[in-house]
Each structure stands twice: as structure tokens, then as C-alpha cells.
Symmetry: C3
Subunit: 137 residues, 3 copies
């Protein structure tokens, strides 16, 4: 069992590949067969396992979600943290704060086309905190 925390610098909305950092936490845990759980300690960014091949998929995901969850929607009453904050919370609620991936033969048992991403929903640069829990034998 291990909990490994790391930070990821992000600079604006979009998907940031963290597969290498999660894989590294699994490797350093020494677990051969088990489960790796990735958790993000924020509510205006989220986690996503998605296609790692065509970058157009990531762009389309971002553009589709930003069209669904608009900035400056007159519905919002939480506006004091900027026009991108309430949409970021909604996007976070529609996606995942946590994803778990089985560990087999000492590695993440991801599908061929799967990568683990931090999905940043705010515009400005910042650092996001992530914890990787690894359990097993």
C-alpha cells in the first residue's frame, strides 16, 4: 500500500497527460497485482481516461464541453471568482474527481488507446495536486 502525491503545472484549459506520473507511482510502490486509484484535490479540474492517439479527440472534447457549459450564463450566482469558475465546477461535476485502474504485472492495465489525463477547466496557470493510491500484492 502506498500513497504518492505529486503536483502538475497547468496553463489553461485542456487535457494534460499524467500517465507517466501515475505509472511511476505504481512502479515505486512495488505492487505487481492490485489497483491504482488517482485522486485530484480540486473541484475546478478533473480526471479523465481517454484516447491517447489523435490529438483532435482532445480538442473536440474540450470544445464540446465548453459549448455545453457556457461562461457568463445568467443562471450563475457564483460569479465572484471570475467567469470561468462556475463553469469549471460544473465541468468537474460532469467528469471525475477520481479514477481507478487495475495493476497487472507491475503496470497500469490500460487499454492500448487509453491515457490518464488531468482535465483543467480554468484559464489561468496554476499547480494542481494529485494523489496516487496503490494497493495490492
Amino acid at each position: 500500500m502506498s500513497n504518492h502525491a505529486f503536483e502538475k503545472f497547468v496553463d489553461g484549459q485542456g487535457l494534460y497527460d499524467i500517465t507517466a506520473q501515475v505509472s511511476s507511482a505504481v512502479a515505486s510502490s512495488g505492487v505487481q497485482d492490485g489497483l491504482a486509484t488517482v485522486f485530484i484535490q480540486h473541484t475546478s479540474a478533473s480526471l479523465l481516461i481517454q484516447e491517447n492517439a489523435d490529438p483532435a479527440v482532445q480538442a473536440d472534447l474540450q470544445n464540446w464541453l465548453s459549448r455545453l457549459v457556457l461562461e457568463n450564463d445568467p443562471l450563475y450566482t457564483h460569479t465572484q471568482e471570475g467567469p470561468d469558475d462556475m463553469p469549471a465546477h460544473i465541468k468537474g461535476a460532469l467528469t471525475a474527481v477520481q479514477v481507478a485502474v487495475p495493476v497487472m504485472q507491475g503496470a497500469l492495465a490500460l487499454g492500448v488507446w487509453q491515457g490518464v489525463y488531468l482535465w483543467e477547466h480554468r484559464h489561468s496557470a496554476r499547480t494542481r495536486s494529485i494523489i496516487v493510491n496503490v494497493m495490492g500484492d
Copy 2:
């Protein structure tokens, strides 16, 4: 390893903070480092980790989702359980039935602004059943 079940009374749509109940299950498990997994045994309510500071965030989340997933949508064929039932199932599908949080130093490793919520999607009062699984050392 422990599984701890508890019930939460809800009275209408909205977010209900269950952070204290989940934290209590972690404390009683005696686990210092590990993982706490929260599971809700329903399909018309869900779980959410979201901002615990400004109540306006929670109101906006509720209002935005209820505008996206309308009652009395002519698309619905499952209507016999009331106008709020099919929207509740869709809202449940778009959010989470389960969230897992690392446990560090005997406590939930939540971010500063994160709370654990039951998101109720039906109008009437009822009791919801939740299980907290805690694993680790």
C-alpha cells in the same frame, strides 16, 4: 478493511454534505494509510465531491443540471414513477455512484475546498443508503 453502512435522510433535490459521516467511518476503521470508497445504493441519487465554501456553487450546480435534464421531456417513455424520476436517473448517470478518496494519517486526503456530498435528484423526502469501504494499513 471495513465496510460501514449508514443512512442519510434527504428532503428534496440538492447537495447534502456527508463528509462527517464518511470521515467517521474512516476513523472507526483504524486505517492510517489507504483508500476510502463511498458507494450509494441508488440510481436516482448520486455522489459528488465539490466545493464546500460558497453555497452558491451548490445552488448553481443544481439549477444548471435541472435545466439540462428537464422534467416532462416528451422523449421519456419511463413516466409511471413521476415526472422527476427519469430526470433523476439521467442525472445519476451523468454524475457518480461511487467516489474514492485516499486516506492519509488516518484522515480523508481531501483538498482544502472539497466536501463529499450526496446529490439527491428526487423531490420527495426519503432515506438513502450509503456504504463506506476503507482499506489499507
Copy 3:
């Protein structure tokens, strides 16, 4: 601790009940109290825990999501894999790649009305790979 992989044949969009396969993996693990985590190794299909009673719920879920996430949306730039591929990725991002269910008395601690489903988002027939991780005592 066990990781059990299985394949599910699907033939078009919709929900496919995999509760029996997941339960079987739990039974063969010998775990009496713990956690079962189901993971799908794809990004254009997902997992869902939803109502297992009225089939109309499943049809409405499918129709509602397909109306929200349209094919042939001019927003898409990832179009070379067919008109159903980018919508499938978006639907996958809005739902879950992984769900975890507590195990109690050797069985999945699902609610009375809950089933575990593979939600297929593509039109053509194919085989999907799923892994069930079971941990506990």
C-alpha cells in the same frame, strides 16, 4: 486480491448487463468483505450502474444522451473514424470508465434496483475488454 479479465460481445449502442460476470469474478476471488472495481479498457464505451427493473429507463437514457451528443456535429474535427466515433468519446467522458462496489458477505453490495452495465456508444458489433479487481478479506 484478484484481477479477472473478461470480454463482452456488443452489437450496437445501448446498455449491456454485466452484473452476472462481475458477480462471478467476486465469487471466484473468495473475498467475503472488500471492494470490487470494474474497469473498461476502452474510450468509446463506458460503465454504468443503473436501474435494472424497467427497460424503458435504459432506452430513455440512451435516447437522451444521443440527443445531447449529436453525430455529425460541425464542431468535430476528429471525423476519420466515422460519425459515431467522436460522440462515443464524449459520451465516454461524461460517464464512467470505472465503478467500484463494496463486497459484503461474498457478494456485490448493490442496491435492490442496481445493475452493472457496459454502455456501448458505437454502432458496429465488437468485443469489449473488462477487468474486475477484487480486494479484501
